[in-house]
């Protein structure tokens, strides 16, 4: 039996007295690509930051590629996990250039190190060019649009040729062309490489055929997890959202969720 790619046991994370994550048990095995779905503030980014080695856990255990994060392996293990999360990195990167941020992915840190090789710089530039960022390489992170920042983080995640790719709402802020390009690239990666993908999104149209597992996260707890077709069902989602949900398949095969909704904000004003 192969060791799971990610193994999480009784994981809890607290902020003050509040549990952001509570008693999470989850295994990601080789060949699985997960969709993580949940409302704003349900703990998705915290869960991914624990897996990426950027947040300590309050209790429980997180094993990535068979190892827990220690002082000895933290940087080498982080490099094996490509992490795209503007909700996380927007807090840390401000005046740093796109090129510096991409290169930092080679070290598992926020900064470059002495040991940057010419080949690394060429690779970083090629990645940025591929993501249509050739004219923004020296631009500070804060001066970029949300979509451009997302592309920088995608390049940062890919530069170390990770074994696991954590994508935290990667389509948010991208224009329609950039989002399609990103989704196609991720699908190609899933199909042509051995990388394991964890894809967090709010948008059902980003659910792609390569995703074979799904988890619904609610208030820091796992609501349901399993095979994608068992989780992304009308009955389950209706209970999850506490309102009637209809799932429609569009002509291009993408899903669309229709939520029964009444808004009374105008009457309140």
């Amino acid at each position: 039996m192969l060791e799971p790619i990610i193994s999480i046991e009784n994981l809890s994370c607290k902020s003050g007295n509040r549990y952001i994550l509570h008693n999470i048990n989850w295994q990601v095995n080789d060949g699985e690509h997960w969709l993580v779905f949940g409302k704003n503030g349900c703990g998705k980014t915290t869960l991914l930051s624990c897996i990426a080695g950027f947040k300590p856990v309050s209790s429980g255990m997180v094993k990535v590629l068979g190892e827990t994060y220690t002082a000895e392996n933290i940087f080498s293990l982080r490099k094996k996990v490509g992490w795209v999360s503007s909700s996380f990195f927007d807090n840390y990167f401000k005046n740093e250039s796109a090129l510096q941020i991409v290169l930092s992915g080679l070290f598992g840190t926020f900064n470059i190190d002495y040991d940057v090789r010419d080949q690394d710089v060429r690779t970083a530039k090629a990645l940025l060019r591929e993501l249509h960022m050739e004219y923004k390489m020296k631009q500070p992170f804060y001066m970029m649009s949300k979509g451009e920042r997302q592309n920088v983080l995608i390049a940062r995640a890919l530069i170390s040729k990770p074994k696991i790719l954590l994508l935290d709402e990667p389509g948010t802020g991208l224009d329609i062309e950039a989002r399609e390009y990103m989704m196609t690239s991720v699908a190609t990666l899933a199909e042509q490489s051995k990388v394991t993908i964890i894809y967090v999104t709010h948008y059902p149209e980003e659910i792609q055929p390569f995703m074979n597992k799904a988890m619904l996260l609610q208030n820091g707890r796992i609501y349901k997890k399993g095979d994608l077709e068992d989780v992304i069902r009308q009955e389950t989602l209706s209970m999850f959202f506490d309102r009637q949900v209809q799932i429609r398949k569009q002509e291009n095969g993408r899903l669309q969720f229709m939520l029964e909704m009444k808004a009374n904000a105008l009457q309140l004003s």
Binding site: P56, E72, F93
Partner: protein
Amino acid sequence: MSDIQVDGRIERLKRRTQQCVCKYCGRELTLRHIVFSDINEAKVELYCNFCNRIEFGVEKEIYYSAYNFIDNLEFDYYENLDANEKKHQMNVAKICEIISWNCKNMGLLNQDGFTVPLNVEENTWSECLVLPSREVVLQEEEGK
């Protein structure tokens, strides 16, 4: 790409705060807690408080040389940008990168600084140097 050496990382970064400055503004770098972590080595990065930037820095001699080059030769790598302090800093940083790259490849520079004694001509440095306060004290003591 070799893995970053975890052992002694903080000591290495501390040494770098002594020998290097921000390649944009030339001011001293500090060690700053960037992220909350239970592993000390993973918490800190080199930081320029003046630029609010995570910054690896360059040797002071390289910075002053680059600064002087930009000022004396009116070199402009970023012709499309408006002329302002930011652009000047970006130009200095660009030259710093080129000089560092060359020194590294010539075997004149490694992680611990220059591998050969420097014989810098005094007039190649700008007359106005930005010195961290502890260096001012040191220079005063040396002058006594």
